[in-house]
């Protein structure tokens, strides 16, 4: 990690820039569906929805990876479990039977999202409690191992579709809203993303966030100060997992489908790439990274079948020549250094 402790303290001028940028961004996101309609490009709305959902997942991963210094290569587990909670609850809702003989199924969005976050959080508690006993490359690999176990478990569970996954015939319902409408669902996701980003900003700025940053820089120093790093890291990991579960639940609603693909290690890699592409340990970096990757993918696929041959070099250039991802690039272009 970069050695921020070495930077000389300078009096910080009140920063209106970031606040203004955030406001402009928020406004742009609210106006986007209407602008898309006006421009006759309605397909932009689902595209932006997908970017927002991935942004939630990437921002959650960033909390563990960027702020907490825990390089998880297994966040697909939480993303996927969120999706499966929606799928399984919907399945038992339509079959009108109790899940495990206890829990009634549901298609209420608020309930399924909460259930998805709970399930993902519990999973993150278990995985994190075990994985956080290791660090470095071993941590990367053990989180990968747990995610792969879950992937193969769901591939083999015929009751939940196995390889083929589960189809969710209709999106979950939220009050009287027509979630089948793309624009309505976009705003649902936008609201979720707004809450998520606001929450992460609050966490990062809180005492808990400070401790987390301290642990990232030097675990021993924090331990010497009488703070038990393990508990803080585990708490951050669980919150991060819950966020990824929320994103997975929204994605299952968006696609009206969940499959083991959501649990595959390439999904973990994709989320990680969004974070790195946008800028590790920055608040809006994951949003930028997710949007950039989703848009690039869509644009390039429309352009050529071999789009990955274009995406690859772009990623290479970003990593080799922009230290700190798109967020840092923007900041440098903006004049500040």
């Amino acid at each position: 990690m970069r050695n921020e402790a070495m930077v000389q303290p300078v009096p910080v001028p009140v920063a209106y820039g970031p606040l203004l940028a955030t406001l402009v961004l928020a406004l742009a996101l609210v106006v986007l569906p209407f602008a898309a309609q006006a421009l006759g490009q309605p397909s932009l709305v689902p595209l932006a929805t997908r970017a927002l959902i991935y942004a939630i997942a990437a921002a959650s991963l960033n909390l563990a990876l960027g702020y907490g210094g825990m390089v998880s290569f297994g966040h697909a587990a939480f993303f996927g479990i969120g999706g499966y909670v929606v799928g399984i609850l919907y399945q038992s809702f339509t079959a009108d039977e109790l899940l495990f003989g206890l829990i009634p199924g549901t298609n209420q969005l608020l309930l399924t999202l909460a259930a998805a976050m709970l399930a993902a959080g519990f999973l993150a508690l278990v995985i994190g409690a075990l994985s956080l006993r290791t660090s470095g490359v071993q941590f990367i690999m053990i989180t990968l191992a747990f995610a792969q176990m879950l992937f193969f478990l769901f591939v083999s569970l015929k009751a939940y579709g196995g390889d083929d996954g589960l189809i969710i015939r209709r999106r979950n319902i939220l009050f009287g809203l027509d979630t089948r409408d793309d624009t309505v669902f976009y705003f649902v996701c936008l609201a979720a993303a707004a809450i998520m980003f606001w929450g992460i900003a609050r966490i990062v700025g809180s005492r808990f966030g400070m401790v987390l940053a301290g642990i990232r820089q030097s675990e021993r120093r924090m331990a010497a100060m009488g703070i038990a790093p393990y508990r803080y890291k585990l708490a951050a990991f669980v919150i991060s997992g819950m966020g990824a579960g929320l994103a997975g639940a929204l994605m299952a609603n968006y696609l009206r489908f969940v499959s083991p693909d959501m649990l595959h290690w390439t999904k973990s890699g994709e989320l990680m790439i969004m974070v790195i592409l946008g800028g590790v340990g920055t608040l809006l970096g994951p949003l930028l990274g997710a949007a950039a990757l989703v848009v690039l993918e869509t644009v390039l696929t429309a352009w050529t079948e071999h789009w990955q041959l274009v995406l690859g070099p772009i990623l290479l250039v970003v990593v080799l020549f922009t230290q700190g991802g798109l967020r840092a690039l923007l900041r440098r272009l903006g004049g500040g250094r």
Partner: protein
């Protein structure tokens, strides 16, 4: 009994293939501190070069050097152009860059050779089987793979433990900065180790050709298992890579062979098959998690 022996041999054969990949990966990991996700791409390059030269010329003797040279050249180019710039960066940048390399390799191969898997026939010399024990006949080709793998393991062991280059490699794995401080041309050493790792990956790809389909994406499938091997064996340890590979190969093969059968005794056939396949795929990851929890540095850590 013969069935068990046969599956054990299959496990050893798979383990040997994993070792060829893991040996290079663990050295690169241990010495340069680089997580190279694109190591599987070098395996794919070897497999394609071997398959195409064999198909065009019909000669195994030409296919072998072609595969090795192609993989080594790709590896050296990868090191010189990209990875060299990333040694000082953190693991995240390395992950992103090598992921980008995977995309480039996969699409490049698709562009050149299409999406259709290539099938390679076993060279006539090695076709057929021998009777190892009464009632146990085994494919000559698979036995050859085992023999080649064990020869490579022996050769690597001599190279690393008995030669000057090996001494530098060992020193580089444990005391990187000290080696640099003593005036060793570390850049050359890095490129050489990378080239060697790529060569071994190419060898594995070449030998995999006749048993598995040569196709885009073959590298990623085996890459993850290779990482499991490296972590179980201990990062940076070639001995660990050998034992880790054999353990993973045998455990994985035996679970796949026997678990569905065992499950079928307690549940319906099709469900048992699906669950058995899933659980046996989970097996090695479970093994890795247990090893990491009990011995976080792996079974054979390089820092003794």
């Amino acid at each position: 009994m013969t069935l068990v022996l046969e599956q054990l041999l299959n496990g050893v054969q798979f383990g040997v293939m994993l070792f060829l990949l893991a040996a290079g990966l663990t050295l690169i990991f241990g010495i340069m501190g680089v997580i190279n996700l694109a190591h599987g791409s070098l395996y794919m390059v070897g497999a394609y070069a071997g398959a195409i030269v064999a198909a065009k010329t019909g000669s195994l003797l030409l296919a072998i050097p072609a595969a090795l040279a192609a993989a080594a050249a790709a590896g050296v180019a990868m090191e010189l152009l990209v990875l060299r710039r990333l040694y000082q960066r953190d693991h995240l940048d390395q992950v992103l860059a090598t992921f980008a390399l995977i995309l480039i390799f996969n699409q490049g191969v698709t562009l050149l050779f299409g999406r259709q898997p290539l099938f390679v026939s076993i060279p006539p010399l090695l076709n057929g089987s021998v009777e190892l024990l009464p009632g146990l006949s085994y494919s000559v080709y698979r036995l050859t793979i085992i023999a080649v793998g064990l020869l490579v393991a022996a050769g690597l062991s001599i190279l690393i433990n008995r030669t000057r280059v090996g001494m530098l490699v060992r020193a580089g794995a444990t005391h990187r900065d000290m080696v640099r401080a003593l005036g060793v041309d570390i850049k050359l050493l890095y490129t050489a180790v990378f080239g060697l790792g790529a060569l071994l990956a190419g060898l594995a790809g070449l030998m995999a050709g006749p048993i598995l389909a040569v196709q885009v994406g073959m590298g990623e499938q085996i890459l993850i298992m290779t990482f499991v091997v490296v972590v179980i064996g201990g990062v940076g340890s070639v001995r660990g890579a050998l034992f880790g590979a054999l353990i993973v190969g045998i455990v994985d093969t035996c679970l796949r062979a026997f678990l569905p059968g065992l499950l079928r005794q307690v549940m319906a056939g099709s469900e048992a098959d699906a669950l058995g396949a899933g659980l046996s795929s989970m097996g090695i990851y479970l093994l890795m998690a247990v090893v990491l929890l009990l011995r976080p540095k792996g079974l054979f850590p390089s820092h003794a």
